[in-house]
């Protein structure tokens, strides 16, 4: 969708001001430094989609003044917590999930670098999902109050709207697709998103378990596993554990739309 150039992502360690949320605790040079962060960020083409203008970028720089590291297994936020900020994933991988009263839970999204997380909290001022890191990750903290004052609402609307469209797609998947179609759609979606981030479209590493995939696309983990095996037998993909290689994109696409031939 975005014609973002294929950029490698050399994750330089960056300064670790992980917990500090008070900008006044930093010197001027640090502030200046932060000012140019977004403009030089490798993810700038993705972060607020459709690409920000130079001046927008400057605005965003003024809003984002904290980063936060989240280790694998730790939560970024939990359902019920009061909403204060959005988060832009800088590196790593997250899953979002909701829990039903009786304990059943469902993964509602996977988030990777360049995506905005936390918009579920805007409406009620409380988060409605849990967001957990599936690998050591880092996010940019975007205090919502400041964002509202920044003149970037237009961008935010777009991001939220795209999320709504994404949800439509997932509903379609959950409501009308059969198991193999679901998994094919899932793989193709992941592939696309990796491409946009400069990774290979054909070879990637799954950050989530079969159980989490199954929860996301409405299948049991056993069915997911069996389908991986079947896809491999059909030479559509090659799987070993979490390493996936897509061998036949068109074939997968055909499975997805169920072109019986």
């Amino acid at each position: 969708m975005t014609t973002a150039a294929a950029i490698a992502m050399p994750m330089r360690p960056t300064i670790t001001n992980r917990t500090s949320t008070d900008p006044s605790s930093r010197g001027l040079s640090t502030v200046a430094r932060f000012r140019t962060r977004c403009a030089t960020c490798n993810l700038r083409e993705l972060c607020l989609p459709c690409g920000l203008q130079a001046q927008d970028m400057a605005r965003l720089d003024e809003v984002v003044y904290t980063r936060k590291r989240v280790k694998r297994g730790e939560t970024l936020y939990r359902s019920g917590e009061t909403f204060e900020s959005l988060y832009a994933v800088r590196s790593g991988f997250f899953k979002a999930s909701v829990v039903l009263e009786d304990g059943r839970d469902q993964v509602t999204a996977f988030h990777m670098a360049g995506e905005i997380v936390g918009m579920d909290g805007i409406g009620t001022e409380r988060h409605s999902a849990d967001v957990i890191a599936l690998e050591d990750s880092e996010v940019c903290v975007i205090p919502y109050g400041r964002l509202e004052e920044s003149g970037l609402e237009r961008q935010l609307h777009k991001v939220m709207s795209r999320e709504l469209v994404r949800d439509q797609g997932l509903m379609m998947l959950l409501g009308t697709m059969r198991a193999e179609e679901r998994l094919a759609a899932f793989l193709l979606n992941l592939s696309q998103r990796f491409v946009a981030r400069g990774y290979s479209p054909n070879e990637f590493h799954l950050r989530m378990t079969r159980d989490e995939i199954g929860s996301y696309i409405g299948l049991s983990l056993e069915t997911v596993s069996r389908l991986f095996s079947r896809f491999q037998a059909d030479d559509l993909i090659s799987v070993q554990q979490k390493h996936i290689r897509i061998l036949d994109v068109e074939g997968l696409r055909a499975v997805m739309v169920h072109e019986q031939n």
Copy 2:
């Protein structure tokens, strides 16, 4: 959720300026008249949720200057059409649906009075779903460009965020619930929404067919029909065609969360 008073909705015929989108084509008095529309609208508590302040209401009045009638079966907009406006449902009932390449379609939402429709188009400037009236309806047209200038972004964020949370709920339903749980959840949801509009929570008229219900909650129309019959046999509801009466709310709730006892 909203503690909106139970208001009846006497749908006065109102002036029919359905196609006119040019405000200059109207006299001053007409404009003045429109100025106070939102403030006196019966749906003001619902339309932009969380209730607008008086000054916000005035702002909205300046944005909304057209209404549009949509007859049963007609479309409000179609997937692919360029996005220009949001719509506030003033009366009637709509369904939104998306179509897959191979023709399969899925209902993604039902919209009733007081709800905002069209936010799927903001991100790409094209709509991604079809919205069709299930009965003769009327909407307030909210030109998006004007809304952006109006200072009501904050409200829009909230509406969009709530839509995201709603989608989470539907995903949960589609991904983890069994047939009877889905239908129970669907009925309880409808009931709640009717209450908020001043209608009886226990007795209402379905505007959609079994097929459309099934599409929405991921079941075949036959399963929906069978479940209606079963619920009736279990004295949870009474059904005759599209007339539904809920006899045992707690019972339905128990079905939904699957409290097996």
